[in-house]
Structure formats: structure tokens, C-alpha cells
Amino acid sequence: MKRAFIAILSFILLLPIYQASEISTLEADGDVGYRQVELIWSTDSPTQEGTIFQIWMSNETIIETINATMHSQVTVGNTSGLIQPEIGEWYDDCTYNFGDGKWIPVYRDLDGTAVVPSETIGVNCTLTGIPPGIEIYLAVMVINPSNESILSPSISSSSTSSDEEIIVIETSPYIFAIGSIALSVIILLFILRWMDYREGKTTSRFAHIYIAPAILALSVLTFYPVLYGIWLSFTNADQSYLGDQSIIGIENFITVISTSGFFRVTGFTLLWSIVNVAAHIGFGLLLAMALNSNDLRGRSAYRTALLLPWAIPSYISVLVWRGLYEPAGALNDFLGTDLNLLADPNGARIVVILVNIWLGIPFMMMSISGALQALPKDMYEAAEVDGINKFSRFFYLTLPNLKSALVPLSLLGFIWTFNMFNVIYLMTDGGPNLDFDGPGSTDILITYVYDVAFREGAYGVAAAWSVVIFLMLVVFSWTYMKKTNATEAVT
């Protein structure tokens, strides 16, 4: 009697172990998301620890798993200490239940496999990685703790959800914008010409046609981007919602002016530009004058050597200069000193200015050389015979005649230097930066704009900075032009 009792008891107790689970229901829904299929299955009996569910997929009905690809696994095991991510937090979503219809998110072990506790009856997994639009067969294989595996019948499904609409950038608005700009420029030129013609004021009937190609090329390519930039400065454009910006008036400009260090960076930009242009033109002039005499032997060699900084790509020359100025670099070896210029705000400022001077002299020297060549030599000879000394010859003869060349050169030089990005970016990247919220000690306006645009992503504010730079330069150039009568035609 006892034995029978024990036998029956053990049978009842061991029953769960011997009971192999198999899939009793299997459903699939292909309409849950792009490349996703929802698979729901349940077993006929509560699963035991050690059971593994394997999801297989194939293009045809799965008879043997050899011909199919394993998609994923769900293990039945000990879930203590495992993370249990909420729906949507993990790479895919799986839930389980004990047959009571209450779905609970699964646990995940260290390598990402889904783990459910024992007694689980139903599992609902959103399968990812399903090729879209084609018919897929799915089957679940149950591997029982006794290593017995039972494959469920296949179920077919297809992921029918389509991908998000890709936003196609239309170019027709831009063609329209460019076209209208081009047209308005042409019309404007015609109107001006007609007005002049009517009043008989012009000295040539074709003046406007002469400038038309250049103005058209300029306007078509650059007016639109500049106008766009100006418009952008009045919006709150930011990289996290490009295309969805809205106009916010002059708020950006207020941000710009109230940035700590605004005056410091503007001041340094002005200092940078003025010192550089003065040095460029000063040294350029001296060198051009030195090279100007015909009986200088080796003149071509000197000139070519002096033009070299312009020939070498500035990227490498600036980086080499940086290496030279470092404490271990050649400058200290050369001077016998022990300076760490780049680490000190003022030292770094001096260094970047010196490097930019080095870069800019060749161009000025060459342009002024060209201008000097055009001056008549007999003028000088006459002066020399008259006994006028070198300095006076320079100040009263050379300089006035060079004016028509020096004025555009200095103006353009100022504008280019004001917006010279490369040197400072490569040399110090605006540093050393001792101010937490503002520009660094060698930042000029344009390098700071770059930081605001690309590091912070605040395009609206960066555009406002750009407009501020633009206005500063416009005001400066207009006054300079007027003061030097640069636009006068010499008659």
C-alpha cells in the first residue's frame, strides 16, 4: 500500500517534469509596424524552468529547422536579478502571461535574451527584422528540459506596414527663388539703363550690359543664401527642429548682444583685423618696393621665395607653426627661451596674429608689386635729378599713385581677415578658454559663430551673429569707400 502511495505521489510530483509542453495556439499579426510581426503563442501546460522557445522563420513552410533561420529565443528560467525593461525601452517588445490574460514585460539577461519565469503559458513577442512585404512562415520550437523538441506548425504572415514617408527635398522652390532673383536683377538693370538713357546721363549705352554677367552670376549664386541667412536670424531655428522654425523677431539679437564676452570678442576681432591688415600692407609695401628695382640680382628667386606662404596649403602651414610655437618646438630652441605662448591668453593672441601676418604678406606684396610696375619710371628719375630724397619720393609720388590699388586691397584685406576662420580654428580653436559661458581668448566672431552653430546647434542664434558681423562689415566698408572716394573713376 505504501509503495503504491509513494508511486502515485511520485508520479503526481514528477508529472510536471515528464510533461512535455508543446505549442497549443499560435497567432501572427503583420500589421504592427514596419518590418515587424507580432507573434503570440501559448503552451498547453505551464512551462518549466529550462524550457527554451525558439522562433524560426523561413520563406516556406517549416518542416525541419535545417531549412529555416532562427529568429530569436525565449528562455524559461530564474528571473531574479534580471532587468525588466518597459514596453518600448528595449530593442523589441516581448510580454508573457500565466494564462490569465495579464501581459507582463519579459526579463532580459546580460546578453539580451528574453527570460520568463516558470509557469508561463503565453508569450507575445513583436518580432523585428522581418523582411517587409513578403510572405514569411514562422514556427515556434519548444525545447523541453528533457531536450525533447517539438516544432509547432508554421504560420504565415507578412509585415504589411510600410516605412515612414521619406521627406523628399523639393528643389523647385529654390529654382523659383533663384529665377526670380535673376529676373529681378535683369529687370533692374534694364530699368536703370532706360532711366539713364532717357536722361542722357550715361557715358556709354552699354555700361549696364558690361556689368550684367558678373552681377547675374553673383546674385544667382549668393543672394539667396545670404537672404536666407538673414531670414534665419529672425527665427528660432535649432538643429532639433530644422524646417519647423518660427519667427521670433529680434530675440536672437538680444541673446547675441547679451552674451558674456560679446565686447571682448568683438574687440579682439577688430584688433586682429586692423593689426593684420596694417602689417600685411606695411610689410607688403616694403617688400614690393625692395623688389622693385631692375638691377637686383636674384630678384625672381627672392620673389618666389617670398610668395611661398601663399602656395602652401594653409592647413599644414598653420599646424606646423603651431608645432613651432609649442614649448618643445623650434621657437624655443631658436631663441633659447622657455616660453609656453599658446597656453597664455595674451601669448596665444600674439601668436595667431603673427601666423596670420606670415600667411597674408605674399598676396599683398604681389598685388602691390603689380601696382608698382604700372607706375611710370621716368617720374622717379625726374624726381631724383631734382634732388628729392628717397622718403619724399615715396610719400609724394609713390603712395598717391598706389592709392587706387591700395584702397581696394586694404578694404578687401580687412573683410577677409575679419572673417578668417582657418588660422584661429587650427591654431588654438579659440582657446585658451578661461570663461565658461563665452568665447575663448583667441576667438574672433566667426570662430565663435561656428561653435554656436555646430556645437550647440542653435542655428537661429548663429545666423543672428552672422548678421551682426555682416552689418559691422557693411557699415565699415561703406564709410571706408565713401571716405576714400574709392568708387571714383579717374578721368
Binding site: 549696364h208 558678373a214 579717374v490
Partner: protein, 427 residues
């Protein structure tokens, strides 16, 4: 001394040549010594940074001495023989200081250079001021005839001094300019890929070989050449008529048009990259050479137009009018007369356009992201890896990129000189 002055006065004060005659040597010294003083100040600054007490002291003394010499030189006039003697004496003092400085052991090149700038001027001062001609002048024994001879002699002496001075100045400039380039050459020729090491200690051509044998390099070069030449041609084609019009004609909107060329340069490019990109895309010019040519021509336009206008301004209108009267039509006037005269300006403009296109990086990268259209700057930048680059290859490639430009410079210089001969028409 005072008496001797008085006895000779009637001959002097009425004679132009004698009154205005200063020996060339004295003039040159007067121009030289301010520079010597400046260089002495620079030396002082370096020694202060070096914190070397002895050298600071000797350098300060040198400054004082040079200032005194300068002062004396300006006071030096005919009949001031004792000042002339003073100059010699103080220069001797300066020489002594130089010897002292030398004895305390200059270690590096720059010490020798600073020494040289105190030594040679002093020697030159002593030498030239003791010359008989200067002695004659300083002692007040100058006659009219010798003054005239002196003025005549001045010309050739000044020319000689001018040449020497030019060479000295140019050598200094070249040294300053060429220093980093020598460094780049060193990196390009050193084995391995670091940015340091000894100066020209080992030489290898491996980097140049590596770059020259890579197919991509030649693709980049081809693209750069096409784009740069195209930019030069298009830039000149657009700028020359415009420059001519601005120079010669008065028309409504002229000032504003000239100003508009500048406007575009003023707006920082950072923000306008995306709309610019879209404009190029709308025109279908992405990944083409034409797109870059257009973009670069427009970038170079402001300088080209303004420069050409400035040069056309210097060509006198009378020339054109004379030619027109003679029966040439406007066209011929332009091609045959104006253009050859402005050849230096056109050459400068062409060179500038070429270089603007050759060295430009950002637009080339933004508009042309397909590798076959990369220009040299973009290709060069792609040698940079995320973790620091192969400096040897990079330096070699940079030098190779600069070579065509240097060749252009040499060619360009001939245009500058030729422009001179064409100027024979003027005046």
C-alpha cells in the same frame, strides 16, 4: 676750430651744391642706425625672456651706445669734425661691447645674429666716417667743386648701398618666411610619420613615392587643374568687362553695384552652407566641376573687379580717345591698347583666381562628395584620420600641391616684367 669756419664761410653759404651736400655714407648711416636700435631692443626683449643677467646688461649698454651714435650722426654736419671723431670713438666702444658679448659665449644662431647687428654697423660706421671724403666734409674744407663731385659720387654710392641694404632686408624676410616651409620639407623627407625629430637627420623619398604612386592623387590633381583653369577663365571673362565699365563709365547704380560685390564676402559662410548647397542642387551642379567653377568665380569676383577697375583707372583716357580718333573701333582699343597696359593687373587677377580655386576646401567638399570629383585640398584633408594623421605623407602631399603654384609664380613674374616694356607707350 671756430676761426677756421669763419674764414671759409663766404664760399659756402651761397653755394647750392655745397649747402645741400651730405656724403652718401652719412645718409646711409642715418637710415641704418634706427634699425640697429630697433634690433637691439628686440635682443634686449629676448634676453629678458631668457633671464640671462649678463646679456641683459650688455644689451642695454648696446642700446644706449647705438642711440648716442644715432644722435651724433644727426648732429654731424660740415665743419663738425669733433662730432665725427666722437662717432668713431663711440663706435669703437660698441665694438668693445661686442667683443665682451662674444666672450661671454653666444650659444645659438640667434646670438650670432644679434652680435652681427651690433658688430657690422659699428665697423661700417668707423670705416665710412673715417673716409677722406667724409673727413673733408666734416672738417669744413669742402670746396664747391668737390661738393659737386661729391653729389655726383653720391648717386653711385647710394645705389650701391641701396643694393646691399635691399639684399640684407630681403634675406631677412626670406628667412622669416621660409622657416616653416623648411620644416615641412624636413617632415616630408623624414622616414616615419611624426611631426618632429631632428632637423634633416635622415632623408627618404618614401612619402613622395607613396603619394605619387597613388591613383587618387592624380584624380585629385586632374580635378583641381580643371576647376582652377576654368575659374581663371570664367573669372576674367566676368570681371574684365565689369571692371572696365566701373572704371570708364558713369551710370546709375554704379556705386551700389560695386558695393554689392563686397557684400557677399562679408557674410560668414558657416550659416549659408546649406542654402548654398540647395541652390547648387537645384541647378543640378552637385558633383560637377562646373558647379565649383561658378562658385569660385563668384568668390574671386570682388577682388578681380576692384583690382581691374583700379588698374584701368591708371590708364589715361587720352590714350583711348587718341586711338578712337585715329580710327580704331572700341573693340580694338580694348584688346590692343588697354589690355596690354594692364597686363600686370590682369596677371595678378588671374593668379589670384587660380589660387582661390586651387586652395579652396570647404565648398569643394560640400558640393562634391563623390570621390572622383575631389579636388586636391579635399583629397589632402582625407589623408587625416580620426586619430592623427600620417604627417610624412601629408607634408609630402602638401609640397606636391604647392609645386604647380610655385611654377605659376615663376611664370607670372615674367608677365610683371613684360608689362613694364609694354608701358613704353605711356607718357
Amino acid at each position: 676750430m671756430i676761426g677756421s669756419e669763419k674764414s671759409l664761410s663766404p664760399v659756402f653759404h651761397d653755394d647750392l651744391a655745397s649747402r645741400w651736400y651730405i656724403p652718401a655714407e652719412v645718409e646711409s648711416l642715418r637710415s641704418l642706425y634706427p634699425i640697429v636700435v630697433m634690433i637691439n631692443f628686440v635682443s634686449l626683449a629676448i634676453f629678458i625672456l631668457r633671464e640671462d643677467q649678463d646679456l641683459i646688461f650688455s644689451s642695454s649698454m648696446q642700446i644706449v651706445v647705438s642711440l648716442v651714435i644715432l644722435l651724433l650722426l644727426y648732429k654731424l654736419d660740415q665743419g663738425q669734425r669733433f662730432i665725427r671723431d666722437g662717432v668713431i670713438a663711440i663706435s669703437g666702444l660698441s665694438l668693445l661691447l661686442c667683443v665682451l658679448q662674444f666672450l661671454s659665449g653666444p650659444q645659438i644662431i640667434i646670438d650670432y645674429w644679434m652680435l652681427g647687428w651690433s658688430l657690422f654697423p659699428s665697423l661700417f660706421a668707423i670705416y665710412s666716417v673715417s673716409k677722406p671724403i667724409v673727413t673733408l666734409w666734416a672738417s669744413g674744407n669742402q670746396t664747391t667743386r668737390s661738393a659737386e663731385l661729391g653729389l655726383y659720387r653720391n648717386r653711385s654710392v647710394n645705389r650701391f648701398h641701396g643694393k646691399v641694404f635691399r639684399h640684407v632686408a630681403l634675406t631677412h624676410a626670406v628667412a622669416f618666411v621660409v622657416l616653416p616651409i623648411l620644416w615641412i620639407l624636413d617632415v616630408a623627407l623624414s622616414p616615419g610619420n611624426s611631426l618632429g625629430g631632428g632637423f634633416f637627420d635622415s632623408v627618404t623619398m618614401e612619402h613622395f613615392n607613396h603619394i605619387l604612386s597613388s591613383e587618387s592623387f592624380w584624380i585629385w590633381t586632374r580635378n583641381s587643374v580643371i576647376v582652377s583653369i576654368g575659374t581663371t577663365i570664367l573669372g576674367l571673362a566676368l570681371a574684365i568687362p565689369a571692371g572696365y565699365a566701373f572704371s570708364r563709365f558713369k551710370f546709375r547704380g554704379r556705386d551700389y553695384a560695386m558695393f554689392s560685390f563686397l557684400l557677399v564676402q562679408m557674410f560668414p559662410g558657416v550659416i549659408i552652407l546649406v542654402p548654398y548647397f540647395l541652390v547648387m542642387k537645384a541647378l543640378g551642379l552637385l558633383n560637377t566641376s562646373v558647379g565649383l567653377i561658378l562658385a569660385y568665380s563668384v568668390t574671386a569676383l570682388p577682388l578681380c573687379v576692384w583690382m581691374l577697375k583700379g588698374f584701368f583707372d591708371t590708364v589715361p583716357k587720352e590714350l583711348e580717345e587718341a586711338a578712337l580718333v585715329d580710327g580704331c573701333n572700341q573693340n580694338n582699343v580694348f584688346w590692343r591698347i588697354i589690355l596690354p597696359l594692364s597686363l600686370p593687373a590682369v596677371a595678378v587677377t588671374a593668379l589670384f583666381s587660380f589660387l582661390a580655386a586651387w586652395n579652396e576646401f570647404l565648398l569643394a567638399l560640400t558640393f562634391n562628395t563623390s570621390e572622383e570629383m575631389y579636388t586636391l585640398p579635399v583629397g589632402l584633408a582625407s589623408l587625416i584620420s580620426s586619430t592623427g594623421q600620417a604627417w610624412g605623407d601629408f607634408a609630402a602631399a602638401s609640397l606636391l600641391v604647392s609645386l604647380p603654384v610655385v611654377v605659376l609664380f615663376v611664370i607670372f613674374q615674367r608677365f610683371l616684367i613684360e608689362g613694364l616694356s609694354a608701358g613704353g607707350v605711356k607718357g
